[in-house]
Symmetry: C2
Subunit: 403 residues, 2 copies
């Protein structure tokens, strides 16, 4: 008998009718001879409603209490879903994160799972019940309720799948799967049947929003096949799994992009040891997340250092640089309206010239490349934000991803 873990996001349980339809899907999965665990998010935008009330009371509410507050949303979802399943003549039981044995760190609102005690889960599955777990939450060593932060329900599902050695973890969402590019930008974008963990990690890191980086890392660590699919259709979606021999290795699988980057360039920095450590140490102290870093080769004893940050963090980054520029005897310039376009593909490793083809395609359409960064299965280019959408279409065509 297979163990299947399914995760349903807020849009999949937005109201009573949606809850009934998820219940039917879970019963069908059990009827096909599977043991079924489902991880459920809070209904629609109910978490926003709770946050609004909290902010009417305090601009900066204690995080422990935010967790007590937010964790109720998923509990409401699982209880209602259990009722809907019972109405269909199947047996289900709802569990909070704590009841499901999800132990976490004490970092409220952004806790990490430290351990899963799956005894109650396994016993309940063996008794023939569908198990519904409130997503996004766990319990700390102090026996306080914690939440896992953004994408927490995906993480819950993957972690439970790992603990139960599940055969597959299905992430139900409101899109059909992982696409070769954002279908809103590229009408010819195609759904990918399968991608490797490495590809999915690079895609998540370079702008694909369908899966959070953290849940892909978990799935890879525990070797759990992840399937991303829509709760509104029967399409099998996209399977994310270990790269294997049978998997077709596309040179380029997908084009990803972001449109919220800013670029900073430190000019004529003295080219001596410890400079980069000073600069990025100051940024880390200011809690600025730096994405891409480029240092050009030295010329006459000085060098230029460029890096990108999310635009929201630009003011904090500027403050940090202002403090150290005098000391370093340097100045900096800003490119505020930047974006990033990336090509990702596991086949890239064994095909030379892929990056050159990308640069040529962009150049042919007068798109200037400001920064370049590569990994073994990804090439990213920072460009003017206004040109990002065109760049995505150009690259999707250049690598013939429509077929």
């Amino acid at each position: 008998m297979s163990i299947i873990v399914q995760k349903y996001g807020g849009t999949s349980v937005a109201d009573v009718e949606h809850i009934k339809s998820v219940a039917q899907r879970l019963c069908d999965t059990q009827d096909r001879g599977n043991q079924v665990v489902a991880v459920i998010s809070a209904m629609g935008n109910s978490t926003d409603r709770l946050l609004r009330m909290a902010h009417e009371i305090s601009a900066d509410p204690p995080e422990r209490e935010l967790d007590m507050l937010f964790s109720t949303g998923e509990r409401i979802s699982v209880a209602l879903l259990a009722m809907a399943i019972s109405e269909l003549g199947h047996e289900a039981i709802s569990l909070s994160g704590a009841q499901a044995g999800i132990h976490t760190t004490t970092s409220h609102t952004r806790a990490r799972i430290t351990d899963i005690d799956s005894r109650r889960l396994s016993e309940t599955l063996d008794s023939g019940k569908i198990v519904l777990v409130a997503g996004f939450q766990g319990i700390s060593p102090d026996e306080d309720i914690t939440t896992l932060g953004r994408g927490g329900s995906d993480t819950t599902a993957v972690a439970l799948a790992g603990a139960l050695r599940a055969d597959e973890c299905e992430i139900y969402t409101d899109v059909e799967g992982v696409f070769s590019a954002d279908p809103n930008l590229v009408p010819g974008a195609v759904k990918l049947d399968a991608v490797s963990y490495e590809e999915m990690l690079e895609m998540a890191a370079s702008g694909a929003e369908v899966l959070m980086l953290r849940s892909v890392e978990y799935a890879q660590r525990y070797g759990i096949p992840l399937r991303v699919r829509s709760s509104f259709s029967d399409d099998p979606g996209t399977l994310v799994k270990e790269e294997d021999e049978k998997m077709e290795k596309a040179v380029v699988s997908a084009i990803t992009h972001t449109e919220n980057e800013s670029k900073l360039t430190l000019l004529r920095v003295p080219d001596k040891p410890g400079i980069a450590a000073t600069v990025f140490g100051a940024l880390a102290d200011a809690e600025v997340n730096v994405d891409m870093i480029i240092q050009n080769v030295s010329e006459q004893g000085t060098t230029d250092i460029s890096f990108t940050v999310v635009q929201d963090e630009l003011p904090a980054a500027q403050q940090a640089l202002d403090r150290i520029c005098d000391e370093l005897g340097t100045a900096y310039i800003i490119g505020e309206q930047m974006g990033k376009v990336s090509i990702v593909g596991a086949g890239m490793k064994s095909y030379p010239g892929v990056a050159a083809r990308m640069f040529r395609a962009l150049a042919d359409h007068d798109i200037n490349i400001e920064m370049i960064s590569t990994s073994s299965i990804k090439v990213s280019c920072v460009i003017e934000r206004a040109q990002v959408e065109k760049a995505v279409r150009v690259l999707h065509e250049a690598f013939s991803l429509e077929e």
Copy 2:
């Protein structure tokens, strides 16, 4: 340092403004040098909203899942209240029933408290924090969430007060305290400063709705003084405590009433052993709650048995009787529109003639008494429902309760 347990009902935390005002009251109580525990109900009618969703899904939802669902309401209240207290510069921590160590039976939706492990509560109080406990809920031996049924938050407060050996348990509600009669019926009704546990028990059992019977029983068992007061004023309310020498023993403290009773009379039942057991056994099997039972003295080998039930349960009672009347060779008649008026007073024990004064006052106003039942500190009369309001006013005046 005194330990004070306060309980706030749904109307006291109906919205963000009310929550802020309860926060202020809790901070003031701590500032007066007390250790403070507060038990909080769900906001306003939020439980009704959850129940409505459940009923859209199932006419008969599993009770375990109703408990998972309902218990979220009180958790939202305590989390928001903790934020409001933090905003006032005091420290508070919210606890679910399970975190507060409230262990219950497994009877979902109507569990009973079996044990309270107050270690975490005591440690948190000793660290100088205000402790906020989600009312109405606990945890079963199976580690499932349970709820305590109607009046459950009052019960939580009294039980915690008992476990902590609190100096007082204050029940905040939307009325000023316990009155000599329902002020809606009797404009001259006065608030009572103090009543004994026994009086309060009789009053709760005979129609006073301000406190649930069960929480008064708990308070009496643990000897915890209960204070009923309004969260919208500074009036000290009504103190419910052990009867003592200093307490003024009013012959009659209050007039209580109900307007939802029905009367059934079994006619000419054979007067032999086992008949009453057969009748009330059949009613118990049908889960009908019988209130007053009267059996007249025997005459010519037969007797009449009368009893009252809440009108809602009349159909079930009739079905039960229909099944046994043939067997017993008897028939029954119904008085559907009945009510009950009672006088309650601890001083009654040592004053003869109180019941006679009650009957005389009713007779003088042409109110016919259908059934009578007495305890050492209470006399109840079942009368026509249409006459209940007049009877309450007549008795309030007859025993000079306006003063």
